[in-house]
Each structure stands twice: as structure tokens, then as C-alpha cells.
């Protein structure tokens, strides 16, 4: 709980930084504050406290995911120097991002449907603004607008779903809802089922699962690259945690009803995301489509819904977030200096920057799921959970689609080793950026070699 309060405080502080003239100190303050937040989160480990008449529940699941998204945000703030540099109103952006983080933290620790909605709204509204935050760029405005229109619809669905579930059960509280579902199983009213489906629509929109993925490529491409990185990591992780929290606690007695739906969404996301990614020439769009595919893999854990699912989602979210941070960071650094977001712009990268290229190779191989990297173990764990639950067919689809994934990740790797056509503007990495990239590379290796560190948390 202290963690959420700290981040909220930081957000408020960021808003008044301009007035009180400590703008220059703000980045350090934010990084220190977020580091402290991680510490506060960890203090909640194994405490299981319920806050505000059972609105938030700090169980280990909540703590683990809070830590994950805070760590990811911390890593993000390290690379994000560029994003704040040229902007006259940078303090606002700090505040908005911090509030988005608060929203994410609420989404992973809610114990009441109204808190889920509030958390999601805080997160979403912040991101509508952030997607459009490059105000002079037409594409950024378009992205923000598109995200807002579509997102508002999705939120509407979610709210309507919550209403219907409330109408049937008479409660927002997850514990009571779970008790109601168990007691009434077999004679639940139709509106309850409709409610589940609408909630599913609202939340799967946020993770960009097929068929609610249409916004993702355009918004990912249009938004400033660093904001895209945050969308792929913070939003996705929080939304998956929220999905799992709700469906594993309340809706398991009726799992026959919704696992089929998610089964189809998972298969469709994996195939659509991977197949469409193959045809992309822009690296940013490629990563956007690949993020749809990764949402599909994570949905596998939700279909399986057993005692491995929580750990599987945590591991996958961690592996994917770390890989996303480093790949988007490299993309950002290269594209701002060359003005080119295409894959072809990466030609000659290996020769010019061997170390960064090595990290990019590790990142791509991790996303492709090659051992012994984090991405491999995450996929392994997801497949493992799904096979244990008996979904061998779905796992085979996942296997085949990840082969398509390997194809385009390797294409990126191949490109960076090719020699560029003609003279290209030189790209420079600041020492801090290189250090951060090296850190993500190390984390990818570490999680791959010792995945037990994460899986044992929620095992």
C-alpha cells in the first residue's frame, strides 16, 4: 500500500515541480522514489493485508506484479532521457506516467470490481494523453485519438460487464462474487454470463488480443517510441494480471463457459500477430504485431488456468517486458538519430556497435524463445501449464506460430549484420544507455538460467 501512496505522491510532486522550480532535480527524484517504491512493495510480501474495506488486497500475487511493473518503469525511466529532453512541459509527462503506474498497481492488487475499473481508467486515460504527447507530429495525434476512441468503447464494455455481473450477484467484491458463483453454479442467470464476456472484451482490448487488436499497430507506430515501449510492457502486464486475478478467483466454477472463447482468442492472436509481423518493413510495426502474438501466448496460461498459471504469466510478462524495453530503446535511439524506423535502417548496426548489437541479438532470440534465454523459459512454462491442463492442440498451434516468429526475429538479426547501402548518419549511444541495455541483456540471461527465482514466488 505504501508503494501506491509513494508513487501517487511522486506524481503530485512532479506536477508542482514547475511551480516550485525544482524541475532539474525531478528526474533524480523520480528514480529515487520509484526505487523506494520497489522496496515498499517488497515489504508487503507475505503480509496479506486488505485495505479500505476490502477494496485492495495485497497478496503475494499483487506484490509480485507490482514489483514487476515498478521495476520495468524504473528501467524505462533510465532509457527515457530523450523523451523528456526536448519538451517544454516535461514535468507533466512525468506526472502522467507516474499516475499510469499507479493505475497499473491498482489493477494488479484490486479486490473489488469498482477498483478494477478505477485502476484501468487511471491507466488508460494517462495513455491516451501519452500516445498523443508528441503534439507536433501528426501520427502521434492520430494515435492518441484512435486509442482514445477505441479504448473508450472497450472501457464501456468493461463497465457494462461489471454492471451485469453486479446485477446478477449483487456485489462488487471478489470474495463475495466467488462465493456467489460457487453457490449458484448451474443456475446462474444469463446476464451473468453476458457480463463475463463483456468484461473479457474490455480487458483483452488492453492486451491487444485478436479480435480486439486493430488499434495496436497504428497506435504503437504513431505514439512516441518510448511510450510504445511503456504500452507494451506496463499496460500489458497490468491488464494480464487483472484478467488473471478476476478469472482465477471468481469465474473458475464456470470456466467451461469462457475457456473456449479464450482458446480461440489465443490461437487467433498467436497466428495473426506472427503472420502479419512477417510482412512488416517497419521495425516498430513488427514489434507491434509481435506484441499481439505475445499476448496470445500469455492467454494460453489463462486458458490453462491452473496452479501454474500465475507464475507462468509473471515469468512471461517479465521476460517480454525486459526484451521490449531493450528492443524499443535501441529502436528509439537509432530512429531518432537516423530518422528512419524501418528494419533496413538497422543495416550495419553490428559493425558499428558490436556490444549493442550483441544485446539486440540476445533480445531477439529471447523474444523468439531460444534457450537458455528468459523468453525460452517463459514459453516453456506457458506450454507446460497448458499441456498439464490438457490443451495439447493449442500448444501445437503455439509451437507452429512461434516458428513463424523465429523467422522475423531472425530477419532483424540478419539485417543488423548486413552492410548498409550508402552512407548512413552515425548513431551514438550514451554510456548510461549502453549500461542499461547491458543490464537488460544480463537480466534476460539471468532469468533464463535461473527462472526459479521468479516461478517459485507464485508457485
Amino acid at each position: 500500500m505504501n508503494a501506491i501512496l509513494t508513487v501517487t505522491g511522486l506524481g503530485v510532486l512532479a506536477m508542482i515541480a514547475e511551480i516550485l522550480r525544482f524541475k532539474k532535480a525531478l528526474p533524480y527524484l523520480v528514480i529515487a522514489g520509484i526505487a523506494a517504491t520497489i522496496g515498499f512493495s517488497m515489504l508487503d510480501w507475505n503480509t496479506f493485508v486488505r485495505y479500505y474495506s476490502d477494496m485492495l488486497y495485497m497478496d503475494n500475487f499483487a506484490v509480485a506484479f507490482s514489483c514487476l511493473i515498478t521495476v520495468v518503469s524504473l528501467l524505462w525511466f533510465f532509457v527515457s532521457g530523450d523523451y523528456f529532453k526536448s519538451d517544454a512541459t516535461r514535468t507533466d509527462h512525468y506526472a502522467i506516467i507516474l499516475f499510469a503506474l499507479v493505475g497499473g498497481m491498482i489493477m494488479v492488487s484490486y479486490a473489488d470490481l469498482s477498483m478494477l475499473f478505477i485502476g484501468l481508467e487511471i491507466l488508460s486515460i494517462s495513455f491516451y494523453v501519452l500516445a498523443a504527447s508528441n503534439k507536433t507530429e501528426l501520427r502521434s495525434n492520430e494515435a492518441g485519438f484512435k486509442y482514445f476512441i477505441m479504448g473508450a468503447f472497450a472501457t464501456g464494455f468493461l463497465l457494462f460487464g461489471i454492471t451485469l455481473v453486479y446485477g446478477a450477484s449483487g456485489t462488487f467484491n471478489l470474495q463475495k462474487l466467488a462465493a456467489y458463483t460457487t453457490a449458484q453454479a448451474g443456475q446462474l442467470p444469463g446476464i451473468y454470463y453476458a457480463g463475463i464476456l463483456l468484461i473479457l472484451v474490455g480487458l483483452t482490448f488492453k492486451v491487444s488480443a485478436v479480435p480486439f487488436h486493430f488499434w495496436a499497430p497504428d497506435v504503437y507506430e504513431g505514439a512516441p517510441t518510448l511510450i510504445t515501449a511503456l504500452m507494451a510492457t506496463l499496460v500489458k502486464t497490468a491488464a494480464f494480471a487483472a484478467l488473471y486475478r478476476l478469472f482465477s478467483t471468481c469465474f473458475t466454477p464456470v470456466s467451461d463457459f469462457w475457456t473456449g472463447v479464450i482458446w480461440i482468442m489465443a490461437a487467433a492472436s498467436m497466428l495473426t500477430g506472427n503472420i502479419l509481423a512477417v510482412a512488416q518493413t517497419s521495425l516498430k510495426r513488427l514489434l507491434a504485431y509481435s506484441s499481439i502474438a505475445h499476448a496470445g501466448y500469455m492467454l494460453l496460461a489463462l486458458v490453462a488456468i491452473n496452479d501454474l498459471s500465475a507464475a507462468a504469466i509473471l515469468l512471461y510478462a517479465a521476460a517480454y517486458s525486459i526484451a521490449s524495453i531493450s528492443s524499443f530503446a535501441i529502436l528509439e535511439i537509432v530512429s531518432t538519430q537516423t530518422g528512419d524506423e524501418s528494419i533496413a535502417a538497422m543495416k550495419g548496426f553490428a559493425k558499428a556497435h558490436p556490444l549493442q548489437a550483441f544485446i539486440l541479438v540476445i533480445t531477439m532470440l529471447s523474444l523468439a524463445g531460444i534457450p537458455p534465454l528468459a523468453g525460452f523459459f517463459a514459453k516453456y512454462y506457458i506450454f507446460f501449464a497448458a499441456i498439464q491442463a490438457g490443451y495439447i492442440g493449442l500448444v501445437i498451434i503455439a509451437v507452429l506460430s512461434s516458428l513463424i516468429g523465429v523467422y522475423y526475429y531472425l530477419r532483424v538479426i540478419i539485417t543488423i549484420f548486413q552492410s548498409p547501402a550508402g552512407q548512413k548518419p552515425a548513431v551514438t549511444f550514451l554510456p548510461g544507455q549502453t549500461a542499461l541495455l547491458a543490464l537488460t541483456g544480463l537480466l534476460t540471461l539471468l532469468i533464463g538460467l535461473a527462472p526459479g527465482l521468479l516461478t517459485s514466488l507464485l508457485g
Binding site: 532470440l365 531460444i370 525460452f376 499441456i387 495439447i392 509451437v399 523467422y407 531472425l410 526459479g452
Partner: protein, 483 residues
């Protein structure tokens, strides 16, 4: 502990390669490979044939999932580790008279590959095996991608995706097997051996594993990645692929397929045997009409490993022993052949048989070495190929006389295409000047000499190798024959 050293030493050495100067790295890598060979020979001398798994290193890795870092050596592993160590020395030696661009990553990847290969051959935990199996793919992919021929991008991509397809099915099969073990689940090989699965389950597992191994070997009709990749890879890459890497597939059949799903092997073994035999004939015929010398070697390699796989599926002691011996012989011979192709290519700038000829007039020693390697590869008595192929055909004959008759064609066809290529390359009246075909350098000569000595040595006295593997072959067969 020794097993762990065998895995870790090349790995540490590979990291060191990155710290050195471009000029030193080649010698360093070579010395590392020689040291590794020394360690291997020490291990072989300490090894007690028939003593079961020895030098077992067992560390817990991911405890709550029943995954451990467990590796050890039996006769089969020892033989393959020995093959790896010998081949590595030859491969690195063969690179001495060549100019390698950006040598540091190149040698780093080769040594890294060695570590992964030793891991594959010694792993006693299904998960660990899978990790090493995939890990071995990464370095060779980059070796082919970065130092390969003109069409390398397309070809290496095909190669990678092909092999990864098989691997992923193997992963699904391994997870499935793991879930069948009694609680707490375990990937330990003994636990997997102890499984008593239903015939249906076994068939499913059989095909998933077979796919992975058959692609790697490669067995017809899953071989289409192989000729392209061998042709376009840099010489050292081709040597790694054909000399050592395809043995991963054969080894997989012996260690991870036969004992785990004996019923399915009984049921589907005939089809597998049929594919092997078809591949032998098909590849031999393809080799007959190749114009590119390297491609010819690639096809001859498919024929040879097809016979090895057939020997494994014959489920007889002779067939399996022949497979073990022939893995060793084929590894050495094919490295020799690729080196011959490399020597010719660097001097004549072509590998087309029709554009070559008359080399023997200028290079007496070279043509003698080429002839010895060639004879080893066509299995002339007193060369290493003979003992292996004899045992293999003997084994296949016990399985089915028809299969043996068909597989036996490889000996005849092999002689035809190899002698034809020798004739086209070395003999003939084509006039080439001595300045084009410069004499072999000292390292080239040494490499060829070592290969020739090994070919004759193992041909005359194969007993130690047979002695090394026999008890473990019988153990595997006992498990595979349980009905």
C-alpha cells in the same frame, strides 16, 4: 566433475577468445581444443567400459520443476565426446592457412559450439538435453550466416527454421513425458526410462521425437535443408555440421528415443527403416549427378548417415555397434573430404567438377591423402569405413534381407561417385600450371596427415572403440527390446 570440466572448459575458452587480439585468437582456440582433447583422452583412460554412467555431475537447477543439471558419461557418450574433441582439433587446424574475417567471434562461436555439443552428448536430464540441443544451433547458425557463401541469408534461415521445427516438437514430447512421470515429476533420464506408456502415447512421442532427430540427421524426406547449407557454409561450418552436429540426431535416437518408447519403435521402426533406406539410395543417386564437389559430399553424407540410422533401427548389437563406429569414421572422413574441397577451392577458385582436373600431376602428396580419405569413405577394407559399414549392413540384414540388399547399394554407388569425382578433380589431361596449384602448406599437410593416420588406425584396429561402447549398447537394446 570431469564431465563438468568437459562442458565448461570450451565455454570459458570461448569467452576468452573475445578478449584476445585478432592475431592471437586462432592459436589460442587451437591450444584450447588440444587441451580439451587431452582432458578427453584422460577421461577415456579413466573410463571403465561397462561401468554404467560415470563421472556423473548432478546439481539441482530448478528444483520445483524437477529439473537438474545432471550429466555423465557412458561408453556411447564417451565415444561421441572423443569424436567431438578430435574433430575440433582438426577443424581448428584446418583454419590455419585461411584468412578469416573478424576471427574473434568466429573462434568464440566454434568453441561455444563445442561446449554445447559436449553438453548434448552427456546430458542425463531431458530438459538439460533440450537446452544444449538448442544451444548448439545458435553458434552454427551465426557461423553460417556471417562467414557463409553468397546465398547464405536464405539458406541459413531455412536451416534454422527447419531444425527448430523439429526441436519444438521434441520439447512438447519431453514436457508430455515429464508429466507422465510419478509425482513429483522429473526430467531425469532414469525416470523417463522407467515410464510404461500406452501404445497410443508411445506412438505420439515417437513421431514427435523422430521428427526432431530425423531433421538433424537428416533422414529422407527431411533432408532438403542439408545440401544447401553444407554447400554454402564456410568450410569449418560444414565440418562442424557434418562431422559432429548430425551425430546429435543419431545419438538422440539411441539415448532418447529407443529406450523411452520401445513399443512404438517396434510398431513404427519399419517405416523409419524404409525412410532410411530410401534416403540412402536417393542421396547416392543425387551424388552421382552433382557437379559441385561440396554438394556431392553433402549428398554422400546423407547416404552415409542414412545407413547409420538404419543400423540403429535394426535394433541389433551389430547394427548399433556399427552405428557407433561409423559415427566416428564418418566424422573424420567427412571433415577430410570438406578439407580437400577447401584446398582445391582456395587454389582453383571453383568447385565444379567439369572445370577441374589434372591436379595430381602437381600435387603428389595431396592426391595420396585425398585417395586415402576417399577409400575410407567408400569403405575399403583396412580403412575405418569398412568395419563400420560391414557391421551396419550385418545389422540391417538381421532386420530384413531386402533392406540390407537395398542399403548395400550405397557401397557400390558410393564407390562410383567418389571415384568419379576423384577422376574429374585429380586426373585428366587438363593443363594447369604449378603456380595455380601451390603446394600444401605445413598446417594443411599436418591436418591431412592426422586424418589419414586416423583413417588407417581405426581401420586396422577398431577394437578399443567397439570395446568402449558394447556394454552400453546392450543396455540400451535391452530396454528397447522389451515388449
Amino acid at each position: 566433475m570431469l564431465t563438468l570440466i568437459l562442458i565448461l572448459f570450451p565455454f570459458v575458452a570461448s569467452l576468452f577468445c573475445l578478449l584476445l587480439q585478432d592475431k592471437q585468437v586462432r592459436s589460442f582456440a587451437f591450444i584450447a581444443a588440444v587441451v580439451q582433447l587431452g582432458i578427453t583422452l584422460y577421461v577415456v583412460s579413466q573410463f571403465v567400459p561397462g561401468g554404467g554412467m560415470q563421472f556423473v555431475a548432478d546439481y539441482s537447477w530448478i528444483e520445483n520443476l524437477g529439473i537438474s543439471f545432471k550429466a555423465g558419461l557412458d561408453g556411447i557418450s564417451t565415444l561421441l565426446v572423443l569424436l567431438t574433441s578430435i574433430s575440433m582439433v582438426l577443424i581448428l587446424l584446418s583454419s590455419f592457412s585461411r584468412e578469416i574475417v573478424t576471427p574473434r567471434p568466429f573462434y568464440c562461436l566454434i568453441l561455444f559450439m563445442q561446449a554445447a555439443l559436449v553438453g548434448v552428448f552427456t546430458a542425463l536430464d531431458g530438459f538439460l538435453f533440450y537446452v544444449f540441443w538448442e544451444l548448439a544451433l545458435i553458434p552454427i547458425y551465426f557461423i553460417c550466416l556471417l562467414w557463409g557463401g553468397n546465398d547464405r541469408v536464405r539458406i541459413t534461415l531455412k536451416f534454422f527454421i527447419y531444425t527448430l521445427t523439429g526441436s519444438l516438437f521434441m520439447l512438447v514430447a519431453l514436457i508430455y513425458l515429464y508429466l507422465q512421470t510419478p509425482v513429483p515429476h522429473s526430467f531425469d533420464i532414469q525416470a523417463l526410462y522407467a515410464l510404461q506408456l500406452q501404445p497410443m502415447q508411445q506412438s505420439f512421442i515417437f513421431w514427435a521425437l523422430f521428427l526432431a532427430f530425423a531433421i538433424k540427421i537428416p533422414i529422407f524426406p527431411l533432408h532438403t535443408w542439408q545440401p544447401d547449407t553444407y554447400t554454402d557454409a564456410p568450410t569449418q561450418g560444414s565440418m562442424l555440421l557434418s562431422g559432429i552436429m548430425l551425430k546429435m540426431g543419431i545419438f538422440g535416437l539411441i539415448r532418447w528415443l529407443l529406450p523411452i518408447v520401445p513399443l512404438a519403435v517396434g510398431e513404427w521402426g519399419r517405416i523409419a527403416m524404409g525412410l532410411c533406406v530410401t534416403g540412402i539410395i536417393y542421396a547416392s543417386c543425387m551424388a552421382l549427378v552433382q557437379q559441385d564437389f561440396k554438394r556431392l559430399i553433402a549428398y554422400s553424407s546423407i547416404a552415409h548417415v542414412g545407413l547409420i540410422a538404419a543400423g540403429v533401427f535394426s535394433l541389433s548389437v551389430q547394427g548399433m555397434q556399427g552405428a557407433m563406429l561409423q559415427m566416428m569414421s564418418h566424422g573424420i572422413n567427412v571433415i577430410g573430404l570438406f578439407f580437400v574441397a577447401d584446398i582445391i577451392f582456395t587454389r582453383m577458385n571453383t568447385r565444379q567438377l567439369s572445370e577441374l582436373g589434372g591436379i595430381a600431376n602437381h600435387a603428389g602428396a595431396f592426391s595420396a591423402f585425398f585417395m586415402i580419405i576417399l577409400l575410407g569413405s567408400v569403405a575399403l577394407p583396412l580403412t575405418n569405413g569398412f568395419v563400420g559399414e560391414f557391421l551396419l549392413l550385418n545389422g540391417v540384414y538381421q532386420f530384413s534381407a531386402v533392406a540390407a540388399a537395398l542399403a548395400g547399394l550405397t557401397v557400390i554407388l558410393g564407390a562410383v561417385y567418389m571415384l568419379r569425382s576423384y577422376q574429374a578433380v585429380m586426373l585428366g589431361s587438363r593443363e594447369i600450371t604449378a603456380s595455380v596449384f601451390t603446394p600444401l602448406t605445413a598446417t594443411e599437410m599436418t591436418t591431412m596427415l592426422i586424418i589419414a593416420v586416423l583413417i588407417i588406425l581405426f581401420g586396422v584396429y577398431p577394437q578399443p572403440l567397439l570395446h568402449l561402447t558394447e556394454p552400453d549398447i546392450r543396455l540400451i537394446l535391452d530396454k528397447a527390446m522389451v515388449r
